[in-house]
């Protein structure tokens, strides 16, 4: 459990923090069978390290009392687990039909220009890894969309994409925007109604942070009333 030298010479410390180990043990207690905690345990590893480092999977196996190969077999089945380190943020564009009908190709082309690298690659500054081969993310009514880390951004336009990328790149990572690294497990729930959203930045409650409303879609009926409008871009 020491630092590992990666192919691109970046040294990444793969030792899991005490907090992540405690989280994995907590997940183990939630289920009638410890093995059921594999998926949440792998999430905890990825949220800390940004990807599933082999040593992290071994630690999951140790805590859950499984063979490391079993954990790895599960980890490689699911598309949201990263087997390799990527950029600080991940950008994923849905290109399935509902998004494609409303301009996903244009979003892909725009992102390729804006980020300056092809899909599947990481920007030169290490800020973004992006993918244009993502299947339906369940935002068909608010297409086109992209997912940045754990957040959905919908009804996209070029101007919105620019603003989202600028904002995400400028964030420290722990101020509410979800980087794959920084999103922790749920905090203690608020005992009262969540506070209203700030004018700038994502709202801090869990109602639908990150949803960008479609002021660019004329005549769009506001079916999702009662939503924080805080991070319109």
């Amino acid at each position: 459990m020491t630092g590992r030298v990666l192919a691109d010479d970046r040294r990444v410390d793969v030792a899991l923090s005490e907090q992540t180990r405690v989280e994995i043990s907590r997940q183990k207690e939630r289920y009638p069978s410890a093995r059921s905690a594999i998926l949440p345990a792998l999430w905890a590893v990825q949220h800390e390290l940004g990807y599933l480092a082999p040593a992290g999977m071994e630690e999951v196996a140790r805590i859950l009392d499984l063979a490391p190969s079993e954990v790895q077999a599960v980890a490689t089945f699911y598309s949201m687990y990263f087997q390799k380190p990527g950029g600080r943020h991940t950008v994923m564009v849905c290109v399935n039909v509902a998004c494609a009908l409303r301009g996903a190709d244009d979003v892909v082309a725009y992102l390729e220009r804006a980020l300056g690298c092809p899909s599947g690659r990481t920007t030169a500054d290490g800020m973004f890894t992006w993918q244009s081969t993502i299947e339906c993310l369940g935002a068909c009514g608010y297409a086109p969309m992209m997912q940045v880390d754990h957040r959905f951004y919908e009804n996209l336009t070029p101007a919105k994409i620019d603003a989202i990328l600028d904002r995400v790149a400028g964030e420290a990572g722990d101020d509410g925007h979800a980087t794959m690294q920084a999103v922790a497990m749920p905090k203690a729930p608020p005992s009262v109604a969540p506070p209203p959203a700030e004018a700038e930045g994502p709202p801090s409650d869990a109602r639908m942070p990150g949803t960008v409303k479609g002021e660019s879609v004329p005549g769009q009926k506001r079916r999702r009333r009662g939503r924080p409008e805080g991070n319109d871009l």
């Binding site: 699911y78 009514g141 079916r223």
Partner: protein, 433 residues
């Protein structure tokens, strides 16, 4: 005609995502009443009477599914299927976002009817915010005595566990969901034994969709007989329709079963966008066969749409205007199944690969005319021959589109580019999967 809004009637009300806000609008009354009015067996009878059919796609009668559980075998488990990943479906996300406690109440009512003490909500990994919201709501509900030991003094105990997936469409198939929840690769199991006999941890298990469960509080309060009066004889109640594609107002709209599809398109969704004409639509999500403008007057009724050669599936309507290339749409859907095939059975794993390869070449205009027969052949060798429905459904849209738009498929052969959309535009995107 009276307009019924059940599941979405309070959406938009202040604080509906909190326990207090939900209770203010009558929330958790269904749970209180189910303990008071019904034994578990009596409530199962009510659900049978209601005619409620599963909203996840297959449309199996919920009460019948429940009654398959063997008597006196415990523990039993309930899994709420929130792994919504079907192309064009986003209603479960909408129901969770907007009215999460309604789902939790439905889960608890089903748990009581089935005498389950551990209920799981399996939610797809991409719905991260919705998972956090559900976890917060479960904690809130537990704090108010709706979850845990001796719920509301009834003597009934139940824990609700929210479980996040990690990106796998196949986990929406009930046995794959169970495998995934047990901590394995999410691959479907051979049936029989059905989950009702041997499911999660080898015990009797029921898997129900989010929307199905969200109906239960209403059935408790107003009775199965009342519910049966809404909709059509064999498609009772309302459904939350996901409407997407080339329309003015995409979104989720609740409408009772039996109304014409045209009404959903024209009145709720504002009609086809930019004043264009409708070319085709898919009535049940990415898996289902294509329908044409002449089918718009069909009722929103599972049997009627099935008779027309398609299915209402999970209630997702995707509309395509006259500029749409059906080959391109087919290619993207085939890519989806290729990407999501779990690899367990050969017809699906290999078939989706060949299908996808051929469709990409067809869209790029480099396919020979005789290869269209190969496409039919590949699909013939998949449909009905795969281990689970994923492989079958990977052929339904493309085959129905080939039948309905044969000249368009033929025009692509050797065209050197998509003759409908223009070759240059699609080239940027090809290279998926």
């Amino acid at each position: 005609m009276a307009e019924y809004k059940l599941l979405t009637q309070h959406i938009g009300a202040d604080g509906l995502q909190t326990r207090a806000g939900y209770e203010r609008l009558g929330g958790y009354q269904g749970l209180r009443e189910v303990f008071r009015r019904f034994t578990p067996e009596q409530f199962i009878e009510q659900v049978k009477l209601s005619g409620l059919r599963g909203r996840g796609g297959a449309g199996f009668p919920t009460g019948t599914k429940w009654s398959f559980l063997p008597k006196d075998v415990f523990p039993r488990y309930l899994c709420c299927n929130a792994d919504e990943s079907e192309p064009a479906c986003f209603k479960d996300r909408y129901l969770i976002d907007e009215n999460p406690h309604q789902l939790i109440e439905g889960v608890l009512i089903a748990a009581y009817a089935l005498q389950v003490h551990h209920a799981f909500i399996y939610i797809r990994g991409e719905y991260h915010d919705q998972r956090l919201l559900l976890e917060r709501c479960v904690e809130e509900a537990g704090g108010a005595g709706y979850i845990g030991r001796n719920i509301l003094g009834s003597g009934f105990d139940c824990e609700v566990i929210v479980h996040g997936g990690a990106g796998a469409y196949i986990c929406g198939e009930e046995t794959a969901l169970i495998d995934s929840l047990e901590g394995y690769r999410g691959q479907p199991r051979l049936k029989p034994p059905f989950p009702a006999l041997k499911g999660l941890y080898g015990k009797p298990t029921v898997v129900n969709n989010v929307e199905t469960l969200s109906n239960l509080p209403h059935i408790v309060l107003r009775g199965g007989d009342w519910f049966k009066g809404i909709g059509t004889e064999r498609s009772t109640g309302t459904r939350v329709w996901c409407v997407s594609g080339h329309i003015e107002r995409p979104g989720c709209y609740e409408m009772e079963n039996g109304r014409p599809i045209r009404e959903l398109l024209e009145e709720e969704a504002g009609g086809v966008w930019q004043g264009r004409r409708l070319k085709a639509f898919q009535p049940g999500g990415g898996s289902m066969q294509v329908l044409l403008p002449e089918h718009l007057d069909l009722p929103l009724d599972m049997d009627a749409v099935m008779k027309a050669g398609s299915s209402l599936g999970a209630g997702a309507m995707m509309f395509m205007d006259e500029t749409t290339c059906m080959v391109n749409v087919s290619m993207r859907l085939v890519d989806f199944y290729h990407h999501e095939s779990c690899g367990k059975c050969v017809p699906c794993r290999e078939g989706t690969y060949f299908e996808s390869d051929l469709m990409h070449r067809l869209e790029a205009g480099t396919c020979k005319p005789e290869e269209l027969a190969t496409l039919s052949d590949i699909c013939d060798n998949m449909n009905g021959k795969c281990f689970c429905p994923l492989g079958d459904t990977a052929t339904w849209f493309v085959m129905s589109a080939y039948q309905a738009f044969r000249e368009e498929f033929e025009a692509h052969c050797g065209a050197g580019g998509c003759p409908v959309r223009g070759g240059a535009r699609t080239a940027a995107l090809v290279g998926a999967s």
